[in-house]
Protein backbone atom coordinates (compact mmCIF):
# COMPACT_ATOMS: atom_id res chain seq x y z
CA UNK A 1 0.00 0.00 0.00
CA UNK A 2 2.81 2.36 0.93
CA UNK A 3 4.39 1.80 -2.45
CA UNK A 4 1.10 2.51 -4.26
CA UNK A 5 0.57 5.68 -2.22
CA UNK A 6 4.11 6.86 -3.00
CA UNK A 7 3.54 6.19 -6.68
CA UNK A 8 0.29 8.16 -6.78
CA UNK A 9 1.97 11.02 -4.88
CA UNK A 10 4.80 10.93 -7.38
CA UNK A 11 2.28 11.01 -10.25
CA UNK A 12 0.57 14.00 -8.65
CA UNK A 13 3.87 15.89 -8.35
CA UNK A 14 4.91 15.16 -11.94
CA UNK A 15 1.45 16.10 -13.31
CA UNK A 16 1.52 19.28 -11.21
CA UNK A 17 4.91 20.28 -12.65
CA UNK A 18 3.79 19.54 -16.24
CA UNK A 19 0.54 21.50 -15.77
CA UNK A 20 2.40 24.43 -14.16
CA UNK A 21 4.85 24.51 -17.09
CA UNK A 22 2.01 24.43 -19.63
CA UNK A 23 0.19 27.20 -17.75
CA UNK A 24 3.42 29.23 -17.68
CA UNK A 25 3.94 28.75 -21.44
CA UNK A 26 0.32 29.75 -22.18
CA UNK A 27 0.55 32.79 -19.88
CA UNK A 28 3.83 33.90 -21.50
CA UNK A 29 2.70 33.25 -25.07
CA UNK A 30 -0.72 34.92 -24.92
CA UNK A 31 0.29 37.56 -22.32
CA UNK A 32 -2.60 36.61 -20.03
CA UNK A 33 -3.71 39.61 -17.94
CA UNK A 34 -1.90 42.11 -20.14
CA UNK A 35 1.76 42.46 -21.10
CA UNK A 36 2.97 43.96 -17.82
CA UNK A 37 1.27 41.34 -15.65
CA UNK A 38 2.55 38.52 -17.90
CA UNK A 39 6.08 39.91 -17.73
CA UNK A 40 6.02 40.09 -13.91
CA UNK A 41 4.52 36.59 -13.64
CA UNK A 42 7.10 35.27 -16.13
CA UNK A 43 10.12 36.74 -14.33
CA UNK A 44 8.97 36.11 -10.76
CA UNK A 45 7.79 32.54 -11.41
CA UNK A 46 11.14 31.70 -13.05
CA UNK A 47 13.08 33.06 -10.04
CA UNK A 48 10.72 31.14 -7.71
CA UNK A 49 11.20 27.87 -9.62
CA UNK A 50 15.02 28.28 -9.60
CA UNK A 51 15.00 29.03 -5.84
CA UNK A 52 12.77 26.01 -5.21
CA UNK A 53 15.17 23.80 -7.20
CA UNK A 54 18.18 25.12 -5.21
CA UNK A 55 16.43 24.63 -1.86
CA UNK A 56 15.25 21.08 -2.65
CA UNK A 57 18.71 20.10 -3.96
CA UNK A 58 20.31 21.29 -0.71
CA UNK A 59 17.64 19.43 1.29
CA UNK A 60 18.37 16.29 -0.73
CA UNK A 61 22.12 16.77 -0.06
CA UNK A 62 21.46 16.97 3.68
CA UNK A 63 19.34 13.78 3.67
CA UNK A 64 21.06 11.45 1.20
CA UNK A 65 24.04 9.16 1.67
CA UNK A 66 27.62 10.34 1.10
CA UNK A 67 27.75 8.83 -2.42
CA UNK A 68 25.20 11.32 -3.74
CA UNK A 69 25.91 14.27 -1.42
CA UNK A 70 28.46 15.90 -3.72
CA UNK A 71 26.06 15.52 -6.67
CA UNK A 72 23.21 17.30 -4.88
CA UNK A 73 25.49 20.00 -3.45
CA UNK A 74 26.92 20.82 -6.88
CA UNK A 75 23.47 20.76 -8.48
CA UNK A 76 22.16 22.96 -5.66
CA UNK A 77 25.00 25.41 -6.31
CA UNK A 78 24.14 25.38 -10.04
CA UNK A 79 20.46 26.02 -9.27
CA UNK A 80 21.55 28.81 -6.87
CA UNK A 81 23.61 30.43 -9.64
CA UNK A 82 20.61 30.14 -11.98
CA UNK A 83 18.36 31.69 -9.32
CA UNK A 84 20.79 34.63 -8.91
CA UNK A 85 20.97 35.04 -12.67
CA UNK A 86 17.17 34.93 -13.01
CA UNK A 87 16.86 37.46 -10.17
CA UNK A 88 19.33 39.82 -11.85
CA UNK A 89 17.54 39.35 -15.17
CA UNK A 90 14.23 40.14 -13.42
CA UNK A 91 15.64 43.36 -11.93
CA UNK A 92 16.84 44.50 -15.38
CA UNK A 93 13.64 43.42 -17.10
CA UNK A 94 11.09 44.70 -14.57
CA UNK A 95 12.75 47.68 -12.87
CA UNK A 96 15.29 49.02 -15.39
CA UNK A 97 13.14 48.11 -18.39
CA UNK A 98 15.96 46.87 -20.60
CA UNK A 99 18.27 43.86 -20.38
CA UNK A 100 21.77 44.50 -21.80
CA UNK A 101 23.08 41.87 -24.24
CA UNK A 102 25.91 41.16 -21.78
CA UNK A 103 24.90 41.68 -18.17
CA UNK A 104 25.59 40.43 -14.64
CA UNK A 105 22.89 37.83 -15.26
CA UNK A 106 25.19 36.16 -17.80
CA UNK A 107 27.77 35.58 -15.03
CA UNK A 108 25.19 33.51 -13.14
CA UNK A 109 23.93 31.64 -16.20
CA UNK A 110 27.46 30.82 -17.38
CA UNK A 111 28.68 29.85 -13.87
CA UNK A 112 25.77 27.43 -13.50
CA UNK A 113 26.70 25.36 -16.59
CA UNK A 114 30.10 24.07 -15.28
CA UNK A 115 28.53 23.47 -11.84
CA UNK A 116 25.74 21.36 -13.41
CA UNK A 117 28.32 19.50 -15.52
CA UNK A 118 30.47 18.85 -12.41
CA UNK A 119 27.34 17.53 -10.64
CA UNK A 120 26.59 15.10 -13.49
CA UNK A 121 30.23 13.96 -13.62
CA UNK A 122 30.11 13.15 -9.90
CA UNK A 123 26.86 11.12 -10.28
CA UNK A 124 27.27 7.33 -9.89
CA UNK A 125 25.49 6.80 -13.25
CA UNK A 126 28.63 8.10 -14.97
CA UNK A 127 30.82 5.54 -13.28
CA UNK A 128 29.46 2.40 -14.93
CA UNK A 129 30.33 -1.20 -14.27
CA UNK A 130 33.68 -2.45 -15.68
CA UNK A 131 32.13 -4.78 -18.28
CA UNK A 132 30.45 -1.82 -19.98
CA UNK A 133 33.61 0.27 -20.23
CA UNK A 134 34.72 -1.30 -23.51
CA UNK A 135 32.05 0.47 -25.57
CA UNK A 136 31.84 3.54 -23.31
CA UNK A 137 34.68 5.42 -25.01
CA UNK A 138 33.28 4.85 -28.50
CA UNK A 139 29.74 5.70 -27.39
CA UNK A 140 31.01 8.85 -25.71
CA UNK A 141 32.93 9.89 -28.83
CA UNK A 142 29.92 9.19 -31.06
CA UNK A 143 27.55 11.19 -28.84
CA UNK A 144 30.04 14.08 -28.57
CA UNK A 145 30.62 14.28 -32.34
CA UNK A 146 26.88 13.91 -33.06
CA UNK A 147 25.97 16.76 -30.68
CA UNK A 148 28.81 18.93 -31.95
CA UNK A 149 27.70 18.34 -35.54
CA UNK A 150 24.06 19.18 -34.69
CA UNK A 151 25.09 22.32 -32.83
CA UNK A 152 27.56 23.38 -35.53
CA UNK A 153 25.01 22.91 -38.32
CA UNK A 154 22.03 24.51 -36.60
CA UNK A 155 23.35 27.04 -34.06
CA UNK A 156 27.06 27.25 -33.45
CA UNK A 157 28.11 27.52 -37.13
CA UNK A 158 25.76 30.40 -38.02
CA UNK A 159 26.66 32.13 -34.73
CA UNK A 160 30.38 31.65 -35.39
CA UNK A 161 29.87 33.37 -38.76
CA UNK A 162 27.97 36.32 -37.33
CA UNK A 163 29.55 36.74 -33.87
CA UNK A 164 32.58 38.92 -33.37
CA UNK A 165 34.86 36.84 -31.12
CA UNK A 166 37.04 39.84 -30.31
CA UNK A 167 34.20 41.37 -28.27
CA UNK A 168 32.72 40.21 -24.97
CA UNK A 169 29.27 40.00 -26.57
CA UNK A 170 30.56 37.56 -29.19
CA UNK A 171 32.34 35.38 -26.63
CA UNK A 172 29.26 35.28 -24.33
CA UNK A 173 26.96 34.49 -27.28
CA UNK A 174 29.20 31.55 -28.25
CA UNK A 175 29.68 30.32 -24.66
CA UNK A 176 26.03 29.33 -24.27
CA UNK A 177 25.76 26.81 -27.14
CA UNK A 178 29.23 25.39 -26.32
CA UNK A 179 28.26 24.91 -22.65
CA UNK A 180 24.92 23.42 -23.68
CA UNK A 181 26.58 20.88 -25.97
CA UNK A 182 28.82 19.74 -23.10
CA UNK A 183 25.84 19.64 -20.70
CA UNK A 184 23.74 17.62 -23.19
CA UNK A 185 26.70 15.28 -23.70
CA UNK A 186 26.80 14.46 -19.99
CA UNK A 187 22.99 14.16 -19.83
CA UNK A 188 23.13 11.48 -22.57
CA UNK A 189 26.03 9.74 -20.79
CA UNK A 190 24.06 9.78 -17.52
CA UNK A 191 21.03 8.16 -19.21
CA UNK A 192 23.38 5.66 -20.83
CA UNK A 193 24.91 4.80 -17.44
CA UNK A 194 21.58 4.28 -15.67
CA UNK A 195 21.00 0.95 -13.98
CA UNK A 196 17.67 -0.75 -13.41
CA UNK A 197 15.83 0.33 -10.29
CA UNK A 198 14.21 3.60 -9.48
CA UNK A 199 15.17 5.97 -12.27
CA UNK A 200 12.27 8.46 -11.91
CA UNK A 201 14.20 11.16 -9.96
CA UNK A 202 17.09 10.99 -12.42
CA UNK A 203 14.68 11.15 -15.38
CA UNK A 204 13.04 14.31 -13.94
CA UNK A 205 16.45 15.88 -13.41
CA UNK A 206 17.77 15.00 -16.84
CA UNK A 207 14.50 16.08 -18.48
CA UNK A 208 14.86 19.42 -16.69
CA UNK A 209 18.48 19.89 -17.76
CA UNK A 210 17.50 18.91 -21.32
CA UNK A 211 14.69 21.50 -21.41
CA UNK A 212 17.05 24.16 -20.08
CA UNK A 213 19.93 23.47 -22.44
CA UNK A 214 17.58 23.41 -25.44
CA UNK A 215 16.07 26.75 -24.34
CA UNK A 216 19.59 28.08 -23.80
CA UNK A 217 20.65 27.04 -27.29
CA UNK A 218 17.53 28.64 -28.76
CA UNK A 219 18.23 31.79 -26.72
CA UNK A 220 21.78 31.93 -28.09
CA UNK A 221 20.40 31.52 -31.60
CA UNK A 222 17.77 34.21 -31.14
CA UNK A 223 20.16 36.75 -29.61
CA UNK A 224 22.65 35.99 -32.37
CA UNK A 225 20.20 36.26 -35.25
CA UNK A 226 17.47 38.60 -33.98
CA UNK A 227 16.50 40.45 -30.83
CA UNK A 228 15.19 38.20 -28.08
CA UNK A 229 11.96 39.35 -26.52
CA UNK A 230 11.69 38.31 -22.88
CA UNK A 231 8.23 37.08 -21.99
CA UNK A 232 7.97 34.64 -24.88
CA UNK A 233 6.92 31.02 -24.58
CA UNK A 234 10.63 30.11 -24.78
CA UNK A 235 10.97 31.05 -21.10
CA UNK A 236 8.79 28.02 -20.32
CA UNK A 237 11.82 25.84 -21.12
CA UNK A 238 13.77 27.35 -18.23
CA UNK A 239 10.75 27.26 -15.91
CA UNK A 240 10.10 23.58 -16.74
CA UNK A 241 13.83 22.89 -16.35
CA UNK A 242 13.97 24.32 -12.82
CA UNK A 243 10.79 22.42 -11.91
CA UNK A 244 12.34 19.23 -13.31
CA UNK A 245 15.40 19.67 -11.08
CA UNK A 246 13.19 20.50 -8.08
CA UNK A 247 11.06 17.41 -8.80
CA UNK A 248 14.13 15.17 -9.11
CA UNK A 249 15.40 16.46 -5.77
CA UNK A 250 11.98 16.07 -4.10
CA UNK A 251 11.55 12.50 -5.39
CA UNK A 252 15.10 11.50 -4.50
CA UNK A 253 14.10 10.77 -0.91
CA UNK A 254 11.17 8.47 -1.63
CA UNK A 255 13.16 7.01 -4.51
CA UNK A 256 15.94 5.88 -2.19
CA UNK A 257 13.44 4.41 0.26
CA UNK A 258 11.73 2.49 -2.54
CA UNK A 259 15.03 1.15 -3.79
CA UNK A 260 15.85 -0.18 -0.33
CA UNK A 261 12.38 -1.75 0.01
CA UNK A 262 12.57 -3.27 -3.49
CA UNK A 263 16.03 -4.71 -2.82
CA UNK A 264 14.90 -6.26 0.46
CA UNK A 265 11.74 -7.79 -1.03
CA UNK A 266 13.14 -8.94 -4.33
CA UNK A 267 16.86 -9.68 -4.41
CA UNK A 268 16.88 -9.61 -8.22
CA UNK A 269 20.38 -9.99 -9.68
CA UNK A 270 19.03 -8.39 -12.86
CA UNK A 271 18.50 -5.10 -10.96
CA UNK A 272 21.96 -3.86 -11.96
CA UNK A 273 21.43 -4.65 -15.67
CA UNK A 274 21.12 -1.67 -18.01
CA UNK A 275 17.54 -0.54 -18.69
CA UNK A 276 16.47 -0.21 -22.37
CA UNK A 277 16.79 3.59 -22.18
CA UNK A 278 20.52 3.31 -21.48
CA UNK A 279 21.01 1.23 -24.64
CA UNK A 280 18.85 3.51 -26.77
CA UNK A 281 20.21 6.85 -25.43
CA UNK A 282 23.38 7.05 -27.57
CA UNK A 283 21.30 6.36 -30.72
CA UNK A 284 19.17 9.49 -30.38
CA UNK A 285 21.87 12.15 -31.01
CA UNK A 286 23.39 9.84 -33.63
CA UNK A 287 20.10 9.43 -35.54
CA UNK A 288 19.32 13.14 -35.22
CA UNK A 289 22.77 14.12 -36.52
CA UNK A 290 22.71 11.61 -39.40
CA UNK A 291 19.21 12.75 -40.43
CA UNK A 292 20.23 16.43 -40.21
CA UNK A 293 23.25 15.72 -42.42
CA UNK A 294 21.06 13.97 -45.01
CA UNK A 295 18.46 16.77 -45.01
CA UNK A 296 21.20 19.44 -45.21
CA UNK A 297 22.82 17.86 -48.27
CA UNK A 298 19.43 17.06 -49.81
CA UNK A 299 18.45 20.74 -49.49
CA UNK A 300 21.55 21.64 -51.46
CA UNK A 301 23.45 23.15 -48.55
CA UNK A 302 27.11 22.30 -48.66
CA UNK A 303 28.55 21.64 -45.17
CA UNK A 304 31.61 23.80 -44.42
CA UNK A 305 35.05 22.36 -43.58
CA UNK A 306 34.24 21.90 -39.87
CA UNK A 307 30.83 20.40 -40.69
CA UNK A 308 32.34 18.01 -43.24
CA UNK A 309 35.09 16.86 -40.84
CA UNK A 310 32.50 16.24 -38.13
CA UNK A 311 30.20 14.50 -40.63
CA UNK A 312 32.87 12.06 -41.82
CA UNK A 313 34.04 11.41 -38.25
CA UNK A 314 30.42 10.73 -37.32
CA UNK A 315 29.84 8.33 -40.22
CA UNK A 316 33.04 6.41 -39.40
CA UNK A 317 32.20 6.27 -35.68
CA UNK A 318 28.62 5.20 -36.40
CA UNK A 319 29.73 2.32 -38.61
CA UNK A 320 32.49 1.13 -36.23
CA UNK A 321 30.06 1.39 -33.30
CA UNK A 322 27.44 -0.73 -35.11
CA UNK A 323 30.01 -3.45 -35.84
CA UNK A 324 31.09 -3.54 -32.18
CA UNK A 325 27.47 -3.54 -30.98
CA UNK A 326 26.56 -6.42 -33.30
CA UNK A 327 29.60 -8.41 -32.16
CA UNK A 328 28.67 -7.78 -28.54
CA UNK A 329 25.02 -8.68 -29.03
CA UNK A 330 25.65 -11.73 -31.19
CA UNK A 331 27.20 -13.39 -28.13
CA UNK A 332 24.46 -12.25 -25.74
CA UNK A 333 20.90 -13.08 -26.92
CA UNK A 334 20.97 -16.75 -25.89
CA UNK A 335 22.13 -16.13 -22.33
CA UNK A 336 19.86 -13.08 -22.12
CA UNK A 337 16.71 -14.99 -23.14
CA UNK A 338 17.54 -17.93 -20.89
CA UNK A 339 18.19 -15.78 -17.82
Amino acid sequence: MGYVRRRSRRLELVSGAVLASLAFAACAHWSVGGETVALWVDDLATVGAALLAAALCLRAAARCDARLRRFWLLLGAAAGAWALAEGTWGVYDLLVGDVPVVSLADVGYLAAIPLAIAALVSHPALHGSPERKARTLLDGLTVAVALLFLSWTLVLGPLWESADTTTLEGVVALSYPVGDVVLLFFVVLAVRGMTRGDCAPLWCLLGGLLAMSLSDTLYAYLTGVKDFDSGGALDAGWFAGYLGIALGAALAQTGRAELVVAAAEDPDPDAAAPPPASLVAPFLPLLLALTTLGVQVQLGERPDAVGLTLAFALLALALVRQVLLLREWSARPLTETRA
Partner: protein, 35 residues
Protein backbone atom coordinates in the same frame (compact mmCIF):
# COMPACT_ATOMS: atom_id res chain seq x y z
CA UNK B 1 9.26 -12.31 -18.54
CA UNK B 2 12.97 -11.61 -18.30
CA UNK B 3 13.53 -13.52 -21.54
CA UNK B 4 10.89 -11.47 -23.33
CA UNK B 5 12.33 -8.24 -21.93
CA UNK B 6 15.83 -9.16 -23.10
CA UNK B 7 14.56 -10.13 -26.56
CA UNK B 8 12.48 -6.95 -27.01
CA UNK B 9 15.42 -4.74 -25.95
CA UNK B 10 17.57 -6.67 -28.39
CA UNK B 11 15.01 -6.07 -31.17
CA UNK B 12 14.86 -2.32 -30.46
CA UNK B 13 18.66 -1.99 -30.43
CA UNK B 14 18.91 -4.08 -33.61
CA UNK B 15 16.25 -1.94 -35.33
CA UNK B 16 18.06 1.27 -34.33
CA UNK B 17 21.39 -0.20 -35.44
CA UNK B 18 20.00 -1.12 -38.87
CA UNK B 19 18.21 2.26 -39.19
CA UNK B 20 21.29 4.32 -38.32
CA UNK B 21 23.52 2.21 -40.57
CA UNK B 22 21.10 2.72 -43.49
CA UNK B 23 20.98 6.51 -42.91
CA UNK B 24 24.80 6.58 -42.59
CA UNK B 25 25.17 4.84 -45.97
CA UNK B 26 22.54 7.13 -47.52
CA UNK B 27 24.42 10.17 -46.19
CA UNK B 28 27.68 8.82 -47.60
CA UNK B 29 26.01 8.36 -50.98
CA UNK B 30 24.60 11.90 -50.87
CA UNK B 31 27.96 13.38 -49.88
CA UNK B 32 29.77 11.41 -52.59
CA UNK B 33 27.38 12.57 -55.33
CA UNK B 34 26.97 16.18 -54.17
CA UNK B 35 30.47 17.30 -53.25
Amino acid sequence: MKGRRGTSTFSVVMALTVLSTCIAFYDLLLLATNL
